[in-house]
């Protein structure tokens, strides 16, 4: 809507011509200037400028609907009430049915904890026929680090849904619905994303998985505190993709060590600075999610996978529809399975902490940071 052409908006001829003469072609050009600047640029009076801006605004402005009609549209008419069930009972209950459509769900955790395993399972679930609780659709799996394993996918399928997978030809059909793509660089990814938007409708894609988002950026800029947001455009684009096609988008993220000076408090909180740092050391959590705070704001649901004293936990760390809960889990032949469907309530720093204690990949029993 921002790129709507001024000449198509239906302004009075005289003012429309002036806009064109001054090279203000789209609504975005016009609205990016304040009324005062427009007056100067177009050399017209205040009343004319405000009425033109009001006209443009009324056309470019998005339509409204009541929350009730939104609910009727989504929850009542959509497949499975707008959620992709994960078959993990505790998690599905916490998320009001499963991974929600239309928003970004992030999986973050240390290496080897089970993020890709979870993504493989979700891809399978999306491709299953509706009679088995799936979305009966295609999946686009963007595999940045070449971690996708079709053998593992079939193994998970065969162990979790033997009735389907042992039927002749079904394994091929299901895995045939999952399209794996390996972008070589961020720019290739950017280009391809725009094509994906077009093919989403045509190919009946019901799930998009990006594994992992952090890997796309990691080669692209230097370490340290990122200045701008290299993924700024991508975040916006992917979110709008999710919303307009009403599909779930699952993105995985890596962790990085927290640097000494990392901000964690507001200026009016200064007195507890030192104690907070000590608390953190005691919690044994010196890991934070990569991609920064802008990304953390942008994702709608954040699922943290961590290892605490050797036991893996799946935490619902950020979710508008669920309280913060942790579920212990294990990775088995049939994918991820929860050891308990009753989530453990979390409060305070526990919610966002990412630990990897006793996790075989990163050895860190005493909580000292590794240099």
């Amino acid at each position: 809507m921002a790129n709507k052409l001024i000449r198509e908006i239906g302004l009075p001829k005289s003012i429309a011509n002036i806009f064109a003469a001054r090279n203000i072609v789209t609504a975005k050009d016009a609205l990016s200037l304040t009324e005062f600047e427009l007056m100067e640029l177009l050399d017209v009076g205040w009343a004319e400028v405000t009425s033109a801006v009001a006209h443009i605004s009324a056309i470019v402005c998005p339509p409204y609907q009541s929350a009730l009609s939104l609910m009727e549209q989504r929850v009542q008419n959509e497949h499975l009430a707008g959620h992709l069930p994960t078959r993990l009972k505790g998690l599905d209950e916490a998320l009001c049915g499963g991974i929600p459509f239309g928003v970004l769900t992030e999986l973050v955790g240390p290496a080897g904890i089970g993020k890709t395993q979870f993504c493989l399972k979700l891809s399978l679930l999306a491709s299953l026929p509706s009679s088995y609780g799936g979305l009966d659709g295609h999946v686009i799996y963007i595999d940045v680090e070449s971690k996708f394993s079709s053998r593992r996918l079939i193994e998970i399928g065969a162990k979790s849904f033997p009735e389907i997978f042992l039927t002749k030809g079904m394994a091929q059909k299901m895995s045939g619905r999952i399209l794996v793509w390996r972008p070589a660089s961020l720019s290739e990814f950017t280009e391809r994303l725009q094509q994906i938007k077009v093919s989403l409708h045509r190919n009946e894609v019901k799930l998009l998985v990006i594994d992992s988002m952090a890997a796309l950026v990691s080669g692209e800029y230097e370490q340290g505190i990122p200045r701008q947001h290299p993924l700024g455009w991508h975040v916006s684009f992917i979110k709008s993709l999710a919303e307009f096609s009403r599909i779930p988008i699952v993105v995985t993220n890596q962790v990085r060590s927290q640097s000494r000076d990392e901000a964690c408090q507001f200026s009016f909180q200064v007195q507890r600075w030192k104690e907070t740092k000590e608390d953190q050391a005691r919690y044994g959590s010196h890991l934070v999610a990569a991609l920064g705070v802008h990304w953390a704001h942008a994702v709608t649901i954040r699922l943290v996978l961590e290892a605490k004293s050797g036991q893996r936990f799946l935490k619902v760390s950020k979710s508008p529809i669920s309280p913060p809960l942790a579920f212990p889990f294990d990775i088995t032949a049939s994918g991820m399975s929860l050891l308990s469907d009753d989530g453990i309530d979390l409060t305070g720093p526990d919610i966002n902490a990412i630990r990897s204690q006793g996790h075989s990949d990163i050895i860190n029993f005493t909580g000292e940071s590794l240099q």
Binding site: M1, A2, K28, L31, S32, T34, F36, E37, E40, W46, V53, A54, S57, A58, I59, V60, C61, P62, P63, Y64, S66, A67, L68, L70, M71, R74, V75, C96, P100, I225, Q228, H229, G232, W233, V235, S236, K239, E243, D261, E262, A263, Q265, F266, S267, F268, Q269, V293, A296, H297, T300, R302, S317, K318, P320, I321, P323, T347, G348, P349, N352
Partner: protein
């Protein structure tokens, strides 16, 4: 146009021009009190303030530090880290503005402007149901005569009265801000406008930061005018960013220093140990104080801890 060349700030110039003073000659014959036309005496304002009720947040401590709730006629900015409860508070206010007058509310409608796609209808339904439950309970406890009017509200009524706009770019955000005046003139019972979040589209690689500042201050001015003219509350939700202050990196609300002057009231939501707290960072009439609150399945409620008290800073 001579006012354009005066050595004053862009926003002051904007104000003069929008009041119709475009040339120096039009200004020269005026005295300061003439320019202040359209101003009110402080006494009148005090009376007006008392007429406008506040919107409750459903958390008593938070309402107390806010002077009773979110003030209509003003712009309140609420910011915090991801997951602290900004959207939850936004949804709670959109529901609470609809509490009938008989129950101490405004019996009004809400506009919810979603720039991030974080408005989840399932949650709105949950909060609406809990609000009606609380009111029905209150009905049972306090009112002896049912003829005074039993609560006939249904959660769907509450959802019906929230006007939802989904904004996908900063251009649409500006266009909507311009259009709101017309919309609200046609829907006079709207008493709260929530923007969740005002930041999102302005954080995407704006090459010209000066332009961003100008556009944001334009939006802030228009929203303040809207709040004042229609007597409604404007609530802007903001995100955080990090800033290097006094030798260390600290959290601060996004959108920069000039923006921090634009809103009348500023509330920061933060974690204090295991509890969520709200801090009144800036307000012309409230003192700096913190209050604990919690987010439950029913929405925003009082903090569960026993030793809750309001901390004065």
């Amino acid at each position: 146009m001579e006012v354009g060349r005066l050595p004053i700030s862009a926003s002051q110039r904007g104000k003069l021009i929008s009041a119709g003073y475009t040339t120096l000659s039009s200004l020269s014959s005026l005295s300061p009190s003439d320019l202040a036309l359209g101003a009110q005496t402080a006494w009148d304002m005090l009376h007006e303030d008392e007429m406008f009720p506040r919107i409750t947040t459903s958390c008593l401590d938070l309402d107390n530090v806010l002077g009773g709730g979110i003030n209509c006629k003003e712009v309140t900015e609420i910011g915090g880290v991801p997951g602290i409860g900004k959207t939850q508070l936004g949804i709670q206010l959109a529901v609470n503005v609809q509490i009938p007058v008989d129950y101490g509310g405004l019996g009004a409608k809400a506009i919810y402007i979603d720039t991030e796609g974080s408005f989840m209808v399932e949650r709105v339904l949950q909060i609406a149901e809990a609000c009606i439950e609380d009111m029905t309970e209150c009905n049972g406890l306090l009112r002896k005569d049912f003829q005074a009017g039993q609560l006939k509200m249904h959660p769907n009524n509450i959802l019906e009265n929230i006007f939802y706009f989904r904004v996908c770019s900063y251009t649409e955000q500006i266009a909507l801000t311009n259009y709101l005046d017309k919309f609200i003139s046609e829907h006079k019972d709207v008493k709260v406008v929530i923007v969740d979040s005002v930041t999102f589209h302005f954080r995407q690689d704006f090459d010209d930061m000066a332009l961003r500042t100008r556009l944001l201050s334009g939006i802030a001015l228009k929203l303040m005018k809207l709040a004042k003219e229609h007597g409604l509350a404007v609530v802007l939700l903001n995100q955080v960013t990090t800033k290097y202050i006094e030798g260390s990196f600290q959290l601060t609300l996004a959108l920069g220093d000039s923006w921090s002057h634009s809103c009348t009231n500023r509330v920061i939501l933060y974690w204090n140990g295991n509890e969520r707290y709200a801090y009144i960072d800036k307000s012309p009439s409230l003192r700096s104080a913190s209050a604990p609150y919690s987010v439950t399945s029913k929405g925003i409620r009082n903090s569960a801890s026993n030793c809750k008290r309001i901390r004065m800073m």
